[in-house]
Amino acid sequence: METDLLIVCTSQQRYAVRRDQLLGLRMIITAADLERPDDRGKPVNSVDLGEVLGINSQTTHRHRHALVVPSRRRSVLLLVDRVEHLCAAMEERLHPFPRLLRHQMERPWFLGVLIERDDMPVLVLDVRQIAQDILMKTRSHTHATSHEQHRQVHHL
């Protein structure tokens, strides 16, 4: 892993994100910031990172940050409470998941574990994979909805 890692915080947890997986960062102050296209002019979908990960995530922050994760047709904005700092991805601080846990992980959303300054393990997220899964879920939901609408119109 030869890239810097960005340490970000949801309301409950800290995570590490590979800098080279991001198109950029965006400050979210108003609702309009969630709608604005990315730097390539492509539309965006926004989701709360904590919610996606299934960890109870009720933010108290008025201003948030978005990790802009590019995909071919659109970008995904992953909302976090704070962006803490950037750190070098030194090999001795990066670890694979323990074998016992690897057998039990439902989603391929994690690249490994970073041992941070305070010795706490921080999960390294694969935000590209997370973004792809979000877009795929959105697409299948949209298809299902439009199919249902089409079926109802046809029925009428």
Partner: protein, 152 residues
């Protein structure tokens, strides 16, 4: 505290508690015992694996022993401990209510598991022991690890 029972063929066990019941785990599987600290949760994993901890640069999976035995949850307190174990190549941190002592148990104190025990639960144990009339349920760490690895 449970007194050691000396014998030529003693086996050492670390005694721990879960919901006021005494359990034992073979001493040669135990690396160390450490105080509880908040684990880092890993989303998308079962409740009985509440997360990971870092112990001297080794990332360990935490196994909630109460959850494994379907016992009610309890918040951690000053007595809560992790028992760091190694079985074959699998290292883990077993979360338990407290740790009592490391004792040697002689062959005379061992008993078979009660036949009324639920078979799903019985496979996690190797046998029982009775010392000073206190029953001790002895975990089979290899069986626990293979059960966890098979449960996906």
């Amino acid at each position: 505290m449970i007194a050691a029972v000396p014998d030529q063929a003693d086996t050492s066990y670390l005694l721990l508690t879960l919901a006021q019941t005494t359990y034992g785990i073979r001493g040669d599987w135990v690396r160390e015992v450490i105080r509880w600290r908040e684990p880092t949760p890993v989303p998308g994993t079962p409740d009985l694996l509440p997360g990971i901890i870092n112990q001297r640069g080794v990332i360990l999976t935490v196994i909630d022993m109460r959850a494994l035995l379907a016992l009610p949850e309890t918040p951690p307190n000053r007595a809560t401990r992790y028992v760091i174990t190694k079985n074959v190549e699998v290292e883990a941190a077993l979360l338990c209510d407290s740790v009592l002592d490391l004792v040697s148990l002689s062959a005379a104190v061992f008993e078979p598991l009660p036949s009324s025990l639920d078979p799903q639960r019985a496979r996690l144990f190797e046998r029982m022991a009775r010392v000073n009339d206190i029953p001790i349920v002895l975990f089979d760490l290899a069986a626990i690890m293979s059960t966890l690895q098979a449960t996906t």
